[in-house]
């Protein structure tokens, strides 16, 4: 390994370390300021996610969903396409998946979930592709269009969930449950962790191979690093405006699909809110590298689980997790590490 690479890796590790340290400090500060008994809140936040199978299982289930969302954000970012429509794509993916399952209640128990997941992925993919195509044919910034389209789609999904698909026997604003035959089996009851983690990990490995070992992945990364160079060596610009956006949308859609098939078994109004944005945070922490999505997703899953535990067990609201996430965001993007390393060099 040469010196350049080593310096780069060192910089990234340090960035991550500073972000984690900063997030930890912010969390401690907030808990101290907001809770009446700091000791209890501290213990709940940091220990509870590992405290019992319920918390642990729920956390791991969320990590799986965040891995998919992170992959979705990362594949777009890696090619310099900006998909900010994750929120709508996850939600639509879950609604389409649930609708497919509910429409074929007596279908083949293997075929229908597969079909439903593919339909969910396709629906998300369609949204992503639309923004890519708008950029290509009309010059509409995909960053703006994906965000706006997604914002509208969220309301459309709300309507579908509380209207045509509303479960009349439920007091919640939610669809009816999907048939048991279509569900991934629970691994750690009563938590929502299920065998859905197996296909999620398979998708993770597939994406890692796709990006690191194939022509598609190579061309995609060249587009991301320098689009003018990519055009110069004859890479199809149009394809790499639309395909990564579609793939990104598909992964987001899959996140929604597995949320239904693996964790919740139904769609509740707004139940996926935040997954799209957290996916971006995951991709940011992972530096778009597929295999790094797993630890990055774990970080955010852990923060979320800790916040939930604190909310239930102590007098701190769940919003604390948004603040901590924001702190991680800022620390990661501010590139303190680069400056720190540079400063140390000057002194030497």
């Amino acid at each position: 390994m040469n010196e350049t690479r080593r310096t780069e890796l060192k910089g990234r590790a340090l960035t991550l370390g500073i972000a984690l340290g900063g997030a930890f400090a912010v969390t401690v500060l907030l808990l101290w300021a907001l809770s009446s008994s700091f000791g209890d809140a501290f213990r709940l936040f940091f220990a509870a996610p590992f405290g019992n199978t319920y918390y642990l299982g729920n956390m791991l289930a969320e990590v799986g969903i965040l891995v998919l969302a992170g992959l979705g954000a990362g594949v777009a970012f890696g090619s310099r396409n900006f998909n900010l429509g994750g929120e709508g794509q996850v939600y639509l993916g879950s609604v389409v998946t649930a609708a497919t399952c509910l429409a074929l209640p007596s279908g083949n128990p293997v075929l229908v979930p597969v079909l439903a997941a593919i339909a969910g992925a396709l629906s998300g993919s369609l949204l992503g592709w639309l923004s890519g195509q708008l950029r290509l044919s009309l010059g509409v910034d995909e960053l703006i269009s994906s965000f706006l389209v997604s914002a509208a789609v969220v309301y459309f999904c709300d309507f579908v969930v509380t209207g045509p698909l509303q479960d009349p026997s439920s007091n919640f604003q939610a669809t009816g449950p999907i048939p048991e035959a279509f569900r991934f089996a629970r691994i750690m009851p009563p938590s929502s962790l299920s065998t859905a983690v197996v296909p999620v990990l398979a998708i993770l490995v597939l994406m890692a191979v796709l990006l690191a070992r194939t022509r598609f992945g190579f061309e995609l990364s060249l587009m991301g690093k320098n689009a003018e160079f990519a055009r110069y060596v004859g890479i199809d610009q149009g394809f790499y405006r639309t395909a990564p956006m579609a793939l990104s949308g598909a992964l987001y859609g899959l996140a929604g699909a597995f949320l239904v098939l693996g964790s919740q078994y139904r769609v509740m109004k707004g139940f996926s809110a935040g997954i799209g944005w957290t996916g971006i945070a995951v991709a940011l922490v992972a530096g778009n590298a597929p295999l790094a999505m797993l630890p990055a997703a774990f970080l955010f899953g852990y923060l979320d689980a800790g916040a939930k535990a604190v909310m239930v067990g102590a007098d701190v609201t769940q919003e604390i997790v948004s603040v901590v996430q924001a702190a991680v965001f800022i620390f990661i993007t501010a590139r303190f590490a680069d400056r720190f390393l540079a400063g140390r060099k000057e002194k030497r």
Partner: protein
């Protein structure tokens, strides 16, 4: 007493670990034009960046008029009366000349409002005093390379700099423009300014400098007054042809290392006359229109390049060369007319069959944040990703081969952006001149089959070992300003490869704003002026250089002039 003395300057770049300056010393006297010469990477620019406060030295000291000064940043340099024009123009295209010159030091009205009239008046006066014909009211984007150079100098004078540093000021200028720049510099010297000129063109030093400092490998190699130095010696000193440092005080007379006629590039490439074959690349009555009333950027241009010949197109900046480059690369579209490769319309996306060395080698020609290996493998993706998956062995072999054959100073995993300009150009050449691996394999197989010994092992062996010699380049090659900003050793290498490819039968279109380069390499010369081909001549020893220069300037054709 020298006006400027830099002593024992050391600077090591931490990212690359390279010692850019390793005990450099520079002594510049008051009111002299001092040339700082050396190859790429000799440390000239670093030394000047230290003087201008852009870099901090690890050790060493700077004395101005005998007093030690600290220059931590360009603002401090400006206070000391030091100004620098960097290699690449730093102007705001949308701003007028007056705005650019007065930027951050504007005349104010009521101490707050920008006083446009005063700025234009004062800038105009300053320009006139120094013999610059700049109109302060025109936008900077409409200026020629020479006028931009004047603008940059004016910026320094506006800030009352008395020590001017110019980094490679002539690299983008045509011959007559260099003349103009040099007479301005002489005028500035007469007005009491001290000038440091960074260059690697030995010929220019003789014409202008009062004293020369030669740098090599980060050290000051020798300081001489220009009159003492025969030109061949200077080139030799820069190139390191005489390795005994001790004898540098004398004047070792080695002939022909890399010298040339004073005006020539002096890369010393020689070639036999061409044996031209059928036309490979053709442009038929091509026009590229711009907005409605502006004249077209390419105006009814026709040209053909045959296999085995180099067609050199030269012209001054802004006369259609850039647009011609995009057209021939398939990136730009003609408004009218057709561009043909082997008789068929030129495909917009490249899929083998043509190599292209672009003018903009840092942004278009390379992916600076990718590794050397990725840059090399970026073009021939069909061979390196059979059925969509990477053939790591083939890529590794090709990358090793390229690094070996082209003498690229870098490792396959190193980020390309950390390489020097000359090495980046070598990476581009290695990629663009390579024969697609699949094509090579089938050709080698066919040859082996004809010879009657078809063994897989022998095919593979001949595919790797003799790759440097065996490769058959693409049938059409587009070279655009291939040696701009390169030192002599790299330039000679690039020109050598260019002629080699021609001799193997490639059709080569060379676009260059450097007339010497075109004269040295071309079999035919086309001169562009205002988007049109105004002159086409066969190159040879008797070619009329001044007629070409006149054509580049758009002066009437020789017959009419008389």
């Amino acid at each position: 007493m020298p006006a400027l003395l830099m002593e024992g300057i050391r600077k090591r770049y931490l990212t690359s670990g390279a010692r850019a300056n390793d005990g450099a010393t520079l002594e510049v006297r008051d009111r002299e034009i001092h040339a700082l010469v050396g190859e790429n990477g000799a440390g000239k620019t670093t030394l000047m960046k230290i003087l201008y406060g852009l870099e901090r030295p690890d050790s060493g000291r700077i004395l101005l008029d005998g007093k030690a000064v600290a220059i931590p940043n360009p603002a401090a340099a400006a206070l000391c009366g030091i100004g620098m024009v960097s290699q690449h123009a730093e102007i705001v295209g949308e701003f007028t000349v007056a705005q650019n010159v007065s930027l951050c030091a504007e005349p104010r009205r009521f101490a707050f409002f920008y006083d446009r009239k005063a700025a234009e008046r004062e800038v105009g006066r300053l320009a006139a005093e120094n013999g610059f014909g700049l109109d302060p009211r025109v936008p900077a984007s409409s200026l020629s390379a020479a006028e931009i150079q004047e603008l940059e100098i004016l910026k320094l004078l506006w800030r009352r700099a008395s020590l001017l540093i110019l980094d490679e000021p002539t690299s983008l200028l045509a011959e007559h423009e260099v003349e103009g720049l040099f007479s301005s510099l002489k005028r500035l010297r007469a007005a009491g300014k001290t000038i440091i000129l960074i260059t690697h063109k030995a010929a220019e030093v003789k014409r202008i400098a009062d004293a020369v400092t030669v740098m090599r490998a980060g050290r000051t190699f020798i300081r001489l007054s220009a009159a003492d130095l025969a030109e061949a010696d200077l080139a030799g000193l820069m190139m390191g042809a005489h390795d005994a440092v001790g004898e540098a005080g004398g004047r070792p007379a080695t002939e022909g290392t890399a010298s040339g006629s004073p005006a020539a590039l002096g890369t010393g490439v020689r070639k036999d006359s061409a044996v031209a074959g059928p036309a490979v690349f053709e442009m038929r009555r091509v026009t590229v229109a711009r907005q409605r009333r502006a004249r077209p950027s390419i105006d009814d241009l026709s040209l053909a390049v045959r296999s085995g010949e180099i067609v050199g197109v030269c012209g001054l900046a802004g006369n259609g060369l850039a647009e011609l480059e995009d057209l021939a690369a398939g990136i730009g579209k003609p408004t009218r007319g057709s561009v043909l490769l082997s008789g068929k319309p030129l495909p917009r996306r490249r899929e083998g069959g043509r190599g292209y060395v672009p003018t903009d080698r840092l942004w278009r020609g390379s992916s600076l944040y990718s590794s050397v290996g990725e840059n090399l493998a970026a073009l021939d993706r069909r061979s390196f990703f059979p059925r969509g998956f990477e053939d790591r062995k083939a890529v590794g072999r090709f990358v090793e081969e390229s690094i070996g054959c082209y003498g690229i100073a870098g490792s396959p995993t190193q980020r390309l952006g950390t390489l020097s300009g000359g090495n980046i150009q070598k990476v581009i050449l290695a990629r663009e001149l390579a024969e697609p691996k699949r094509a090579r394999l089938s050709r080698v197989r066919a040859a082996a089959g004809r010879a009657g010994f078809l063994h897989a092992s022998s095919v593979r062996a001949s595919g790797t070992r003799d790759a440097c010699v065996e490769d058959q380049g693409p049938p059409f090659l587009l070279f655009c300003n291939p040696v701009q900003g390169l030192d002599m050793a790299s330039s000679a290498f690039v020109h050598g490869r260019l002629v080699e490819e021609r001799d193997r039968g490639s059709a080569i279109l060379l676009l260059s704003s450097n007339l010497d380069e075109v004269l040295e390499l071309s079999d035919r010369i086309i001169v562009m002026h205002r988007g049109a081909a105004v002159l086409e001549v066969r190159n040879g020893p008797l070619v009329d250089r001044s007629a070409i220069e006149d054509a580049m300037l758009g002066l009437a054709s020789p017959e009419e002039r008389r």
